[in-house]
Structure formats: C-alpha cells, structure tokens
C-alpha cells in the first residue's frame, strides 16, 4: 500500500492526454481514489511537519492530562524527574525567580512554624517551671534520665493536655449545621448560628487572604480555645478544642470527615436543609470527643498522682490536726496533773511520797491525815477525770498547825463564840466561853500532839464576866435613910428583896466557878451631927440592912456590917441631896476563890 501510494504520488499530477486513453484501469483508479489521495497526502504532510503535529497535540494535551490523571498516577511519575530537573536548573540559573514565586507562601509558612515552635517552647517552659518541684516533675526527670530524651521533650509528651469540647459537622455549601456534639453540657451556644458564622468567617478569610479554593482557614485560636477545621468536599468538621491540640487530632478529624463522606455521600449531596439523616454521623463526631478521653487516659497517671498527692496532703493535714489536738489535750492533762500534785502537796495533812504514770494511768501514793482534805474531792475539781488517777493513802497524824487546830476543835468542841488556832506549838483560843469549857480546854490541850501551850489570854470567861457585872450593879445601889434614922423607908423594903435575890444569884454563879462571896455592908452618916452619933447611926444602919439581907435567901454569902460614920462620904456634901446620899448603906462585894476547891485560879 505504501508503495502504491508512493507510486501514485506522481500520478496526482493532472493526467496527460497521452495516457488518458491508454490506461483505462489507471484512469478508473485515479477517478476512484483522487479524494482519498488528497487526504492521505495531507495526512502525510501533517505527520511529517512537526509544527502541525505540535499544534495538534497542544489541542488535546490538557484534556489528555486530565483524563490520565483520573486513571492513575503514571503521569505524575513520568513528569516528576522532569519537573525536578526543571526546578533544579531554574534554581541554578537564577534562584531569585523561584524565591520570588515562593515568597508569599514561605513567609507565612515560616512564621507559622516559628510561632508554633515558640508556642510549644513557652508552654514546655511554663510546664517545667510549674512541675519542677513536684513529684510529677521528679518523675519526668527520672524518665528523661532513663530514656535519654531531653527533659522538655518528655514534659511536652506528658503534658499535651487538651479537650475537644464541641464538634460541628457543617454543610460546606450552605453553612448549615448537620450535626453537633458537645462534651460539656454548659456553654453551648446556638450551634446552628455558630455554624453559620463559622462558615461566614471562613468565607471571609478565604476571600480576603486565600489564593484559591483549596487554601482555607483550617485553624484559629480564641483565647484558650482552638478551632480546628477539617474539610471535605461536601461537609466541614470543626472541632472546638480547649488547650493545645496535638497534630494527631487533625488525623482523627480527617478520618471522621472522610468516613462521613464515605457513608453519607448521597445525603450530603442532596442536602436541602433537613439534617435528620445526619443523626447517623453522631457516633463519628463523638469519636472525635473521645480523643479527649484517650488523652485523659494518657494523663491519668498524672491525675492519679495529683489525686494521691491531694489525698496525702489531706491526710497529712488531718494527721497534723490530730497530733495538735492530741498534744493539746496531753499537754492540758499533763498541766492538770502537775497542778493536782502541787495542790496535794500544798494541802495540809497530805504528804505525797510517790507519783507518776503507769500503764497509761497516773498514780499517786502517800500519807494522809484523816482530818485532811479528801484527795478524791480535789481530783474532781482538777478536771482530770475520776478513773484517770490511782491513789493510795496511808493514815498518819499531821503536826501541821491547821491539822492540830482541827484536831483540837474536834476534841474540845468549842462553842461557836470561840476560835481555835494553832501556831508554833501554841494552841490559842479567842472569843468567849463558859468558865467550865475554859477549864476543861486548859486541861485537855496538854495532851494534844504538837501543842506545848494553851493560850487563852484572848478568851473571855463568860461566867466571871456575868458575876462581875452583877456585882457592879449591886454595889451601885445605895440604900438611903431619913435623918437620924436606922429604919428602912417603906419604899426600900421591896428594893432590899431585889438586892437579896441578886446576891443570891451572884452567890450561885460564884459558887459555880468555885468562888465565895463576902459582902461588906457599909453604913454611913452625913456630916451633920457629931461623929460619934454618926458612927453609931451608921453602924445601926449597916447592921439593919445586913440582917435583913441575911434573912433573905442568900445562902453562902457572908455579910460583914461596918459603920463608917461620916468618914467615907459617897459625895461631897453641898446640897441636901448629897447629904441624903451620904446617909446610906452600900454593899461592897468581895469574891474570893473557895479555898482548896479549884486547883487553878486566875
């Protein structure tokens, strides 16, 4: 065929008149194949002309590449060495071209890399400072030492704490919310509006800064929150993360959005506002929240340590409080015990011979006068508690002044008017007491241990005092007479009877204290008349009164009448009244101990 065509090529020339009639077959062939001949000639020309060929290829090249690219990656592989070579030679020839081209990309990329590196460095530094002196910090140091890794790396590995708080599944075209999950019940805003606004912001960022469709906002930070966005063809996954999200999170999100696209491709494409089919995607979104739980689990040892530390701290505090309380009470008990012992020792009639603590109980032994204070009563007031002290007391007689006095009181049983005190072997009584008690006390006190002398100088003998006052009363009553008469006036008869009774009482009282009464009845006369007459009349007067008194009930009283004349006037005579007073009889009473009846007299 080739030969045929080539051979025929020359025949394309207009047929000559000479050959026309000679070769009818040739003529027929010519007639039949002329159009094809022309086409073939044209084709040949195209094939032979590289320019036309290039033109042709250029027409279909983009489509061809596109078709091939959808089929496999052969094209990329084939072009790779060439592209690499091209870039290399471009750089070799003039690096500026590529630098200029890459500049807008490299700047942000470098900034991003630096800022993220700085961020983690600062974070790790903070963590280091925070953890340096904790149990956790020591643990990390140990781990770094053990594994040979640098400490910051260990800290970074162990402290990438974050929490995915919310995950939004957003329809990419409309910005409508398809699904939303949240790990916290609080603080969830209207997710549908947030979804819309998030889309708007992404659109805004892309419009303002993004070059083409594929460059979009995939992460931004708001305070502690980072919003991570993973986008698919139809839907976008936005995760709100508290803390520093690790790079793995992007992978988790990407996997989730891919799975959702795979499972719900049709629903995504046909979405017209009804989000119900995307209930199915919930578990996928929740899986993204689980990332947080896994991270929590990773942190768990730290959390455990923290909890353990908190527990330890709390226990320590409780223990310290316990010790403090116990010490306080122990101290208090010790103080009370000391005070109790001191009080016992100070107590008269108690002698502590031994004290201490045995088997958790206090004990005290010693001597105790039966008249001393009761140690049990003292224990009550010491607040030590009844059962807390074991006591053993042996009885003895204390020579302590107070005890001596107490013992004396017990034996002598003084009347209420007497105070007994003892000091330096002297038992002193003060106040007033009947004569009889005083005599008895004098006698008994000699037998008391620790008493060398009984001092009753401060003691009034009530009996003697009564006698004395009666005596004075009787002596102060003169019986007056008429002028030159020794006869009692009628009105004085009664008075004499009274005197007689008083004397009888006096004699009785005196007798009780072992004394006898002797009454000198002294008669007097006034200064008128002669002394001789006066003596006579005075003697008569005395005798008269003495006999009258002796006639009364005055047993045991000795009356001795005596006439004093006018030599012992009661008053100096100036008036008649003075003279009348001097014409009288007075009684002068002498009280003397009865001989040999009372051994001791005062």
């Amino acid at each position: 065929m080739d030969a045929f065509l080539r051979k025929d090529n020359g025949g394309l020339e207009p047929p000559s008149a000479a050959t026309e009639g000679q070769d009818p077959i040739g003529e027929l062939r010519r007639l039949l194949f002329v159009p094809e001949h022309a086409q073939v000639a044209k084709l040949q020309e195209r094939l032979d002309d590289p320019e036309i060929h290039a033109e042709d290829v250029s027409q279909v090249l983009p489509e061809a590449i596109a078709i091939r690219a959808t089929k496999d990656r052969e094209l990329t592989r084939a072009m790779l060495p060439t592209v690499e070579e091209a870039i290399l030679s471009s750089v070799r020839r003039d690096p500026h071209v590529l630098v200029d081209a890459l500049f807008p990309v490299m700047g942000p990329a470098i900034r991003k890399a630096i800022s993220s590196a700085l961020e983690s460095m600062i974070e790790s530094l903070n963590e280091t400072l925070e953890r340096s002196f904790t149990v956790q910090g020591l643990k990390w140091r140990w781990e770094a030492f053990r594994t040979g890794r640098p400490l910051p790396q260990v800290i970074l590995l162990r402290t990438l704490v974050y929490r995915v708080e919310q995950v939004f599944l957003i329809h990419r075209r409309t910005g409508l919310l398809l699904q939303h999950v949240s790990s916290t019940s609080a603080g969830v805003q209207d997710a549908d509006m947030v979804s819309g606004m998030l889309t708007a912001i992404r659109d805004f960022v892309q419009d303002s800064f993004g070059g083409n469709r594929e460059e979009s906002l995939d992460s931004f930070k708001v305070g502690e929150l980072t919003i991570r966005i993973e986008q698919g063809p139809e839907a976008v996954l936005a995760a709100v993360v508290r803390g520093t999200p690790p790079p793995e999170l992007s992978a988790v999100l990407a996997e989730a959005i891919e799975t959702i696209h795979l499972e719900q491709a049709e629903a995504l494409v046909k979405f017209e506002g009804d989000a119900t089919p995307f209930e199915r995607a919930r578990p996928r979104l929740e899986a993204c929240l689980k990332t947080q739980q896994r991270s929590r689990a990773e942190r768990a040892p730290g959390a455990k340590t923290r909890r353990a530390r908190a527990f330890l701290r709390a226990s320590l505090v409780v223990l310290l409080i316990g010790v403090a309380v116990w010490s306080f009470f122990a101290l208090q008990r010790g103080r009370r015990w000391g005070a109790y012992l001191e009080r016992l020792s100070a107590e008269p009639g108690i002698a502590v011979t031994d004290s201490g603590r045995r088997n958790g109980r206090y004990y005290v032994t010693g001597l105790r006068d039966p008249l001393a204070a009761d140690p049990a009563a003292l224990l009550d007031s010491s607040k030590l508690g009844k059962g807390s002290v074991a006591a053993e007391w042996k009885p003895y007689q204390s020579l302590d002044s107070e005890l001596v006095a107490a013992r004396a009181r017990r034996v002598l049983q003084p009347p209420g008017t007497v105070t007994l005190t003892a000091a330096n072997g002297v038992l002193a009584a003060r106040g007033s007491a009947p004569h009889r008690w005083i005599v008895e006390a004098r006698s008994l006190s000699r037998a008391f241990a620790g008493v060398t002398r009984f001092d009753d100088s401060g003691l009034t003998d009530t009996d003697l005092a009564g006698i004395e006052s009666l005596r004075k009363e009787i002596e102060s009553q003169p019986i007056t007479f008429d002028l030159a008469s020794a006869e009692l006036r009628p009105r004085d008869a009664g008075r004499l009877g009274e005197l007689s009774r008083d004397l009888s009482r006096l004699a009785e009282a005196a007798g009780r204290v072992g004394r006898t009464v002797r009454v000198e009845v002294v008669g007097r006369g006034d200064s008128t008349g002669t002394e001789e007459v006066n003596r006579t009349i005075s003697r008569l007067r005395a005798q008269r009164v003495a006999s009258l008194l002796a006639a009364g009930d005055t047993r045991g009283v000795l009356f001795v009448p005596r006439g004093a004349g006018s030599s012992e006037p009661l008053r100096r005579e100036m008036t008649d009244e003075d003279r009348e007073i001097n014409r009288s009889v007075t009684l002068s009473i002498g009280i003397t101990p009865a001989p040999a009846r009372e051994p001791s007299t005062q």
Partner: protein, 165 residues
C-alpha cells in the same frame, strides 16, 4: 426541623439590622457587620406543620466602601431584598443586588421588603416602580421594623416559597 440559609441584602442603612434585632434571635454582635461583613442570626417560622429554621445571613449593605461579598450568597435557599421606602435610591440598589444575586442564585426565591412603612409622610419610593417589580413577579411586602407590620408575613412567604409550598 428544616434549616434554610437565607441572605439579607440591601443598601446601607435600610433597616435590615432593625428587622433582625426585633424579629429574630441574635447571638453575635453587630460588630461582625463591619468586620467580617456578615452576621448570622436565626428566625424560626412555621410553614404548616413544619418548623423552618431560617439562618439569616445579614450581609453588610453594599456601599462605596465595601462591595458585596458574593461568596456569602453561596448555598442560600432564599434571600431578602431590603429597601428603605424613604430613600428612592435604595430600591435601585435592590434591583442591582437582585441581579447580582441572580447570577449566583438563579431560581432561588426571594422577597422584597419595603421597610420603614411607618414613615408614610417621608415615603419616596414610587408606587409605579414598585408595581413594575410586582408585575415582574417580585413578592413585595411593606414592612416596618418599628411597628412589626408585614415582617412576619414576608418571612413566612419566603419560607413557603423555599419549601415549595
């Protein structure tokens, strides 16, 4: 519940924000208008038995300083054209905005809100011009953010059209 994205379009200061602040639920500050150029709010209307959750993209009014970001229109199921009845030029702007929206959202339903209907004495928009638009099939509502006149009806009408009812 069905969700629909709805754009609010209109010239500067036609009262979109007032409509939004009184009749819809807001979460974000008005600051977004001037920064991002859009603020997303929501309005729930009942179409028959169905509750429709309208996510209103209140797009910052186009003016000399800022062009309409058409990317915000993407995915809208409907839009609202807001006009200030007391400023004739806002109606002209609405017509321009409609044509631009139409480029991207052909066949998407919309309503025209002639706002500030309460300021009758200052009314500038020609009735004839409005009638022309109505004749072209523009669903037109006289609304007042102040009195609430026509607002619910307009949103409901839009929701109905979007739902294809």
């Amino acid at each position: 519940m069905i969700q629909k994205k709805v754009c609010m379009l209109g010239a500067y200061a036609v009262g979109k924000t007032s409509l939004v602040s009184r009749f819809v639920k807001s979460l974000f500050s008005d600051k977004y208008h001037t920064t991002v150029g859009v603020k997303v709010d929501k309005k729930i209307v009942a179409v028959g038995e169905e509750q429709v959750n309208l996510l209103l993209w209140d797009i910052y009014g186009e003016d000399d300083f800022q062009k309409l970001r058409t990317s915000y229109l993407r995915g809208s199921s409907g839009y609202v054209l807001a006009v200030d009845g007391t400023r004739r030029e806002t109606l002209e702007k609405a017509v321009i905005l409609q044509s631009r929206a139409h480029e991207m959202l052909a066949g998407v339903p919309f309503v025209l809100m002639l706002n500030k209907a309460d300021l009758v004495e200052k009314w500038e928009v020609d009735d004839s011009a409005v009638e022309d638009l109505v004749a072209q099939g523009w669903p037109t509502f006289r609304t007042s953010a102040k009195t609430g006149e026509g607002v619910e009806e307009a949103f409901l009408a839009l929701a109905r059209r979007m739902a294809g009812a």
